[in-house]
């Protein structure tokens, strides 16, 4: 199936650290980047917290879990640049783009629904 390009959406709705979904979904994104598909990441509900700046934890200090947040900044190096956050989720949580550690596109509900409606493969974690 050479040359098939599908629209892949990674749906992130969970906070980091409390569960492993944020980290392990990012690991799929990194591997998936090598397959030259049309990749988008959507951060909705508590998923917006995955992108919060200033995450401070190390294996030996604080929460004792490795901080993986800088990996989000490495995504552009893998040509994964379409990061979308849900406006409603941000507002409910008192967050603005300035609180996030990477550039994102903020979508309102209609725009986010439109984006999702266009996808071929949707991976939820």
């Amino acid at each position: 199936m050479e040359g098939v390009i599908k629209k892949f959406l990674y749906l992130n709705r969970k906070a980091p650290y409390g569960t492993i979904y944020a980290l392990e979904s990012l690991e799929v994104v990194l591997i998936g980047a090598a397959f030259d598909q049309d990749i988008s990441l959507a951060f909705i509900d508590d998923g917006v917290y995955e992108l919060k700046k200033d995450q401070k934890t190390t294996v030996n200090d604080g929460a004792g879990i490795k901080d993986f947040s800088k990996t989000y900044r490495a995504l552009s190096g893998y040509d994964v640049e379409k990061l979308y956050v849900d406006k409603d989720s941000m507002e409910q949580r008192g967050l603005t783009e300035a609180d996030l550690l990477v550039p994102v596109q903020v979508l309102d509900s209609a725009q986010m629904a439109e984006l999702m409606g266009q996808q071929d493969v949707i991976l939820s974690f």
Binding site: M1, F35, V121, I122
Partner: protein
């Protein structure tokens, strides 16, 4: 149609593994093809050979092994998630100096690329999780 299935949770803890199984079975009964079933996060625990469920309840792991055998299915367990959770085949155990392996029949350990490939090759991908 060709289906790909992603199972994100382990047996018994969540209904995900049961629902995925029911879906796979129904799809096969309708004459569809299952390209791959990929096990991620705690889903890798669907592949443990050491399960001893109560006699009067379903045996989730064996059910997968049997379905795979009967229909020649490709059940793939993610290597990274498996290593984290201690789910190993003989090769992995040897490679990493572990004293035992515990993967059940019908499953194979491989990389996340297999999930992406399944998304590309299948007509539909369905996710079962929590």
């Amino acid at each position: 149609m060709k289906f790909a299935i992603l199972v994100n949770e382990g047996p018994y803890q969540h209904q995900a593994a049961d629902s995925a199984y029911q879906f796979a079975k129904a799809a096969l009964e309708k004459g569809h093809e299952i390209f791959r079933i990929f096990f991620y996060h705690d889903g890798v625990n669907n592949a443990t050979r050491l399960t001893i469920p109560p006699q009067d309840d379903r045996n989730v792991v064996e059910r997968w092994t049997k379905l795979a055998q009967d229909h020649n299915l490709d059940l793939v367990v993610c290597i990274a998630a498996a290593q984290r959770r201690g789910l190993l085949d003989a090769n992995e155990a040897k490679r990493n100096g572990k004293t035992a392996d515990n993967i059940a029949d019908g499953f194979r350990i491989s990389g996340l690329g297999q999930l992406i490939e399944a998304g590309i090759q299948a007509d539909r991908l369905v996710v079962f999780g929590d």
